[in-house]
Subunit: 219 residues, 8 copies
């Protein structure tokens, strides 16, 4: 298990991370983490490693793309002095290229995505024990779906950025695909192929927990 | 134009038809028709044929499948004494087979769909001037998508039922496909491939208005 | 069809244009255009010309008269860099002369109306492909109605300003009159002779769509 | 002054009478009479004749026509044992003929209006000291307005019914006309020519108070 | 009638004047005057003198005492350029001496009341046609009630200030007493002896309308 | 102290007893007793005699007069099997004679008050350990106030009924008078002379606690 | 893993099971399971065994004790035709003995608890594949705490009932104790020692998932 | 009785003091003191010593620890010019050490608690007649409970600070213990062992009232 006693983990991302979290900073009492994968991560890390006294923070914000992360990186990540950071971003960068095909100013194209993401990680790496870089995901197996192809293109950028920066790459899309391959249709896990239901969130959470080396049978 | 002065049209269906209509019966003052295609139909028929004094009624209900229509057919269609009826049903009959893959009691399979739909039309046909049978639609071109294939299977049943009963078949899916073929991705028209945005609703409305033979330049 | 692929149209006006639009700028996802004629224009242009990727913006504001437009012209029109602008203003300029007969400071008299409207168009014309100037309308045929006569006086000013500035004049009142002439009373289209119901909004939308040269049977 | 100490007056009508009154019966504490003319009548009768201990009841209901009054006449008028009854009904009987030109079942035509009104008065007359029959009103002077002409036709029916039954005829329309003749436009008193603002409600209230012979300078 | 065509009347006071008025300034459309005596004054002046085009403004504010009026006198009275001003203040100045017997800082004692009131009137008098100074009132006849005695002491100060400044003195308490003398108990007009019901508000309104010389039978 | 371990006390009355209690029966967890004197009684009895495990129930209902108590006596008192009952009723029986001087059907006159109260107590006495009969109160010392005199007349009836039935008479009015005699005005304790503020509620509570023989210094 | 493809699991209990679930039956779309341990069970079973198409139902109800379960057992358990049932009940049976020490009718004593629980299981056992009987829990290690001792007494009854009936005993309290032994105080997991936070809910969920033999690393 | 006529008492603390008080300063009309012990103190002091005209202020704020008090001491205590101050603080200083065992920045350790508390009292003492220092309390008798032990450690610091500064020490915990010793479990008085129900609040109030030397039988 990578995290050590007393460690602090800051989780940032878009609506998939946000999932109704408390404002301005989701941490501490009264289950402020929303109903998404950070809630699973917080609940399971705390229950499995209670004496570690881990400090989890959710700062995901709905609608964010990577440039929005950049705008609030100082206050919402660096100022919180994390030991670990998890990042899951990119689906909005892509989505606007399809649902707002008529408004190009809302798009974040691959070069900007890559450059911004890399810069954020490089800026943060020296001050933390590790960074988890989760791929953006799309709940779809059809390779001919243009948005699906595009999300996977951005996931590939994530993989490359992780390699270049030493971030820990978490291939969430691979786990999503594994699940989708066992059922008839993705709407069993996601209404719109972007926002998962709670089982879908567990697929994401598990990807991250596995990357941490969590022991599920610890007691 | 098929509708004649003084005619009454009752529109029934699921959430695509409902679209936030007033309860219990959407007709008359204060724009009660919701924000979907029935609103376009009402607005354009009234503006283009004001002296016809057409009477439009929306009785679509979110979540309905064809067996739900059957349960309320007497009160919500026959008792209203329509001259014309429009029916757009089937997407929930199919959808539950995918998003509730684990709850088979919520599914309406092809045979029941066909039989129920046919029975409703046959029961109604003698008392009205005509019935418009609109296909259920799915905002997706990929033929390998299991739900897409299934919706089109139900649309084909509609076509056959229309032929057998003499209902006026309205191939909405064909118009949807035509629009999708001109853009990069269906999410420009529909968030979840089932519920259209307002331009998507106009695609449906136009399918019906064309089937009625509406003159758009009438004055 | 005047609009070309990629064009942006900004629609400004009063409550008839506003019709419950989103704030601060109505554009993009989730049907933000309100329930008035801009919603018809957006829906039909997008459905009939999907590959044009037109960008429609609604910045109408309830209660506005022409001097209110002037106050927000820079931020709400020019800063948005439109290719086309539509303007429908004047009914509040007139109305206050009648429903607030006792508060003259709320009135906008003909000279100020003409001068302000002209100035806005002249200031904007060089930067856009075209400006649609829609007449203010009153849902009433009786020539002896003082407010009706006054609205038509302001519509005539619109016609003259359009001629002087090269704006595209859209005679909405003419279409309104055509519809009213075919029915018994204007309350079939407007509760208070100012705010139309949805069919009335289609009469306005159609006036603008016709002026654009839209093909209703395009596919 | 017609009313005597201890008398009870029940006021019935449509939305002009209702004006937001309390349910189910508007009487007693906490100003339950709504914001319309019954509130003026209650307030001024009580303040000018405090020792009379008059008991005022408002049972007006929005949207009512004369057949709706008939449906609830036993419970909402007769069962209350009034000494006096005021009736102001008819504008919805007429209005639906214009704003719902396409739904004839919502109309109350002159013969039914006359017959029902007369029957209600004849059924009540023997049990009360007097019945005030107020004309329905329309805030419009233009004789060519079809709805205006129709409302005045129903007002004339009121006059005739009053003569035939011995009800006290209150010509509210005459007082409305007198006020309208002194201003530029009816929207100074009524937004939609049916619902008055508070000054307009005082015009109605005064018509009734004058018919009662109220002394405004009593002390 | 003192008011002349085109005149503007600003009415200021405490909760009795406020009575739920609109913010920030109650004037113009949609009955913004609250449910108190200003609503009667507005409604009756407008209905009886429609062609006068009188402009009524209500700026009463709940909880105010005379020093609160002073704080907002410039913006809420002088900046509005009234032709006439009505003032009804003092009951809170007194009330706090009784319901907050334990918090002397909330009290406004007679000298401060007199001095402040006089100063406001003198500062305003040169710019207006006239000032109506209404007494604060208490709905109680018992002379031994300490608060009743105190309110009447402040009413007497009003009378003296009016004489010294040339303001038009309106003895509302006298009319209140006249009404109370004709019934068994003041709670028929006021729940707490300070806030009147609507008939009680008419007693106040009438005091002011009489002072203006209004003709109730004008037509 | 009259109450013994395990005893159950049911408190009934009007709005003074109700004071916002929970529905349908106020007992048990989450402070359901409202903010009035029953809350003081519950809190102090429980804190001073914790090991007594007393069971307090509040079934006061706003607006009730003695006939309303009679209507619900079986379900709200007898069916609860109390050991002790406290009754405080009468102020609404009197109040309506003054604030609804014009609606005599709302009054409960002395004979009916006496007869009903006596009957309730006689019907209950055999099944309980004791009944506390609290006087209705009026926060006013002036003997010339008609409502004050009337409330004291009803309090005297209480005293007589208590004597005749063996109920424990609790002279709350005497304690109220004692407090009022030490201050300048009753509005320090009651806004409208009927509903006390919290200190006023303690005056009532203490009257009852004293009648029970509570030891305030018990520990 | 005990559950087999297509199996249906009904989960019943009190507020710990309820945790804000949807009404009337929590199953199907839109994450209706509340925020407690059933949500973990549903999410993880569905994500780890997607092709099993398991059908999870939550019918926990806040405030329930075992007799409440009995009242709704037919409709809320048997009528749903489950393959598996999980039961977690008892903390309210105990709690009322402490927080309502003064209201013995609200208590469920050990004998009734045992008898009712056993009867429910025996009535159900023949129709299902298995019943999971979870112990009620208390987040406290101090053996001298009376309520803690009592909850453990009821947990022991569960163990005995499970042995006698062949239900699968799930010793949640043991897992709770294990977690508590590794931290300084139980309020890290539970505000009031009864309702866990989300990590606490995972402790419960894991107890059940372990009893099912779930493979956490399945893919 | 320590308090003298005209004295002002400011009560400060955390959620136990706050208990839903009005903002920004709880004083004066409409029972603004919340539902906690300050409401008992206000109600009973006012009812027992009405002619003293005592001025009670509640400035407790939920969640506060002693450093939060320090931040607002100038505005919320000194600027109010009290004659007496009551302080009840410390439970949050302790609680965070247990429910946020993983977030040490939220803890207030004993040295800081002592130092800050002492400084506040020394800064205030010269300007007031007296300061009541109430111990923080925990509704638990078990000495092995870590949080219980810690709260009592902070209570002991209070005792020492009181001795060093001359503040009046109020041993609330002793009274709490006395009550707890007479019942089976603390949840009869407190849901979570921190927030008391209303009887629990009376235990606190009584501790303070006793320290003041209040005569409960005064009249």
């Amino acid at each position: 298990m990578l995290l050590q006693p007393g460690d602090k983990l800051v989780m940032i991302g878009d609506s998939v991370t946000d999932a109704g979290r408390a404002r301005p900073i989701a941490e501490g009492l009264f289950n402020p983490y929303g109903s998404g994968y950070p809630n699973f991560v917080y609940s399971m890390l705390t229950a499995l490693y209670p004496e570690y006294m881990l400090h989890i923070v959710n700062v995901g914000s709905s609608g964010n793309n990577v440039t929005n992360l950049e705008e609030r990186w100082q206050t919402d990540v660096l100022d919180l002095n994390p030991d670990w950071v998890s990042i899951m971003i990119g689906v909005n960068d892509v989505w606007r290229q399809f649902d707002l095909q008529n408004m190009p100013k809302t798009w974040v194209m691959p070069d900007l995505y890559r450059k911004t993401l890399k810069s954020l990680i490089e800026r943060t790496k020296p001050n933390v024990k590790g960074i988890f870089l989760l791929t953006p995901i799309y709940w779809e197996l059809n390779e001919n779906d243009a948005m699906n192809a595009r999300v996977r293109e951005y996931a590939q950028i994530c993989r490359e950025v992780a390699e270049e920066t030493g971030a820990i790459f978490v291939d969430v899309q691979k786990n999503v695909d594994s699940v989708l391959n066992r059922i008839k249709h993705s709407c069993y896990f996601s209404w719109d192929r972007v926002h998962p239901n709670n089982p879908g969130h567990y697929v994401i959470a598990r990807s991250l927990l596995d990357a941490m080396g969590v022991e599920y049978s610890r007691s």
